[in-house]
Amino acid sequence: MPKKKLSIRIDGELINAVEGQTILQAAKANGKYIPTLCDLEGLTPVGACRLCIVEVSGTDRLFQACTTPIQDGMSVITTSARLTHDRRISLELLFVERNHVCAVCVSNGRCELQSLASAMGISTVRFAYNYPKLGVDLSHPRFVLDHNRCILCTRCVRVCADLEGAHVWELTSRGIHSRIVSDLNQRWGDSRSCTNCGKCVQACPTGALAEKGYAVEEMVKRTDNISSLVERREVQV
């Protein structure tokens, strides 16, 4: 059954969308940009980073574009002083939460967190750094997990569950103590369920997950195999 067509407004412009789409999907389909960080096409959206917030007429609340389904007649604002302010704060909090030292990172120059920050003109943060003491898991023969650079976007968790079906990654603890863990908190190298496919590494927006042996700036993430899998998933044979 064909899906019902809805019409919504994004930044005043009338747009044709399809029922069941999220605000982000409708915006993307119509060439409208909304910043995102935890979202990766094809993975179940979770709304972890709060960067995709938008204003919706008729309510004072802000909505996450990646998880909010559209409704007929909805009017969405993607850019405003308030949104910029809140997005900036979200990003700054990500930077202070852990130890992001871009200058020595394998993903320097190719990091989604970094490029969003520079697009928003963030060069300093207004909050005190947290400087947590976090470890690096080097136990996997091919990959490395550096908790210092993790922003808890859970892309790795979702790509492993949604696409690979291995369910290696999970979140543990709460709030500031949250951490991703493999196989119920075993070292990655000891994980029996990891298939060594590397999808989590490619999906990770920062240098938190990387291939071993790469020097500063050398890690190039490739999400093309993820998106081709997502495309194939839709194909009926």
Binding site: A103, V136, V144, E217
Partner: protein, 473 residues
């Protein structure tokens, strides 16, 4: 007893402080040279993957990042237990020579030229790079050109000027293109001409500095540096040689991984920098110097024709070993000549264009040491890792560290000569900082403010009361 403190006014971490202790009659009783430096480095890198170390350590220093990249990558090569491809070795050496040229040019033309060309007692307001440009425009232009030549090679290789991540464990990240090689070769003759001009000028001017040569840290010390099996000067490879104060070889062919058998480190009061010494002689008798002067003293020859001729003349004029710290300037210029000749040799070898430039490997050894000659002297990186390649222990011995004690002694010698009484004079302040500059210590402040080491001397009496004060503006 009065104390004079020379303290740099600087916004950056990592600075030097000089304390001059006067006795009751106003004569110098003692001096101490303190460097505050990156601390807790070992703690900071604990648990990091070893292959990140070149990137991390090269950020320690904005002036000679390539030196740390090289020493660190060599230590990583040792952990991976790989032999890097021949082209990679040559390319690393090429980058190293280019850095040697640019770093020495910076030291000579920007930091020391104001003193050397304009005079130690010249007007302080104009005794800086701008003053040099006004009084000796050709010389200033040469300095800029030479530095640019070195930087452009590095840029051509690494596509980034200051912190190239091109030198990596196992080799280098990308091969050299024929076009870049040809461009360097095209600029080389004019760089060589500049080096030659500057050296001739300096040799003529040397007679004006009899006084400085005599009292600028001329107290004999041991010297250390890398040489190859034939005794040729080495920057990138080679083994460590120690020569005694009188010039005999006391130890030779020390491989990187044996350094700890011969070098021990003493911790100094009030200073984060450790003081290495030659183990068999104990501390502080085993104090030695490194860097351009030490290399001239340690090697039997440079190994390239133009530099060798200069090498012979240098020792004819000032003996072998030559001890005055003022001669660091001279040695630096000879090394520029040598580095340029080396660059020419390296580029003439067709092997340098080979595409195989990187070896790969996991953790094959739990320990690795990398040793090179940085522009300022011998640099050692030593790491220990666990089976997974996480750093468990790291030790760095930097050039300024080796020279720490010798710099202190040189300061004392200069102070004794130029300081007398309770009044501080500007020329004295400058001579004290000039002797520090002769060593070109790797301090953030040494490039601060148009080549002046920003510092303040305070004369404080026994009760801590300020008696007199002068400072660079």
């Amino acid at each position: 007893m009065k104390r004079i403190t020379i303290d740099p006014v600087t916004r950056i971490e990592g600075h030097a402080k000089i304390i001059i202790q006067l006795d009751d009659s106003g004569r110098v009783a003692g001096t101490e040279f303190h460097v505050t430096q990156v601390r807790g480095f070992e703690k900071f890198t604990e648990g990091r993957p070893f292959y990140e170390m070149p990137g991390i350590t090269s950020r320690i220093c904005g002036i000679c990042p390539i030196s740390h990249l090289l020493a660190s990558s060599k230590a990583c090569d040792a952990i991976m237990a790989v032999r890097i491809p021949p082209a990679a070795k040559k390319l690393r050496e090429l980058a190293h020579c280019a850095q040697m040229v640019q770093s020495h040019a910076l030291s000579f033309f920007y930091l020391s030229a104001p003193d050397l060309l304009l005079g130690m007692d010249s007007e302080m307001a104009s005794r800086n790079v701008l003053g040099v440009i006004a009084a000796h425009p050709e010389m200033a232009r040469d300095g800029i050109e030479l530095r640019k030549f070195g930087l452009q090679i590095i840029e051509g290789l690494a596509q980034e000027r200051i912190h190239p991540s091109w030198i990596v464990p196992g080799g280098v990240a990308s091969p050299l293109s024929g076009a870049v090689r040809d461009r360097i070769l095209c600029d080389l003759p004019s760089a060589k001409a500049i080096a030659d001009r500057t050296l001739s000028f300096f040799k003529k001017a040397l007679d004006n500095y009899k006084d400085e040569i005599e009292c600028f840290g001329s107290a004999p010390t041991m010297h250390a540096g890398l040489v190859d099996r034939k005794g040729n000067l080495q920057f990138y490879d080679g083994e460590l040689r120690f020569r005694s104060r009188s010039g005999e070889i006391v130890e030779d062919a020390i491989a990187a991984e044996q350094y700890a058998d011969w070098i021990a480190e003493a911790s100094l009061r009030d200073s984060y920098l450790k003081a290495p010494y030659f183990k068999p002689q104990g501390f502080p008798e085993g104090t030695y110097r490194v860097g351009p002067l030490a290399r001239m003293n340690v090697a039997d020859q440079c190994g390239t024709p133009l530099a060798d001729a200069e090498f012979v003349e240098f020792h004819q004029r000032f003996g072998s070993p030559a001890h005055s710290a003022f001669l660091y300037h001279y040695a630096r210029l000879i090394e520029i000549v040598h580095a340029l000749e080396k660059i020419e040799l390296l580029l003439a070898d067709p092997q340098i264009l080979e595409k195989q430039v990187r070896a790969t490997g996991g953790v094959n050894s739990l320990e690795g040491v990398g040793m090179i000659e940085a522009p300022r002297g011998t640099l050692i990186h030593h790491y220990k890792v666990n089976e997974e390649g996480g750093i468990t222990w790291a030790n760095l011995i930097v050039a300024t560290g080796h020279n720490n004690l010798a710099i202190g002694r040189s300061v004392q010698q200069v102070s004794e000569r130029y300081i007398d009484g309770n009044k501080l004079q500007e020329g004295m302040l400058n001579r004290v900082s000039a002797v520090v500059r002769a060593y070109d210590p790797c301090l953030s402040c040494s490039t601060h403010a148009l080549g002046e080491i920003a510092m303040r001397i305070q004369l404080v009496d026994a009760n801590g009361q300020l008696q007199d004060e002068i400072a660079t503006p």
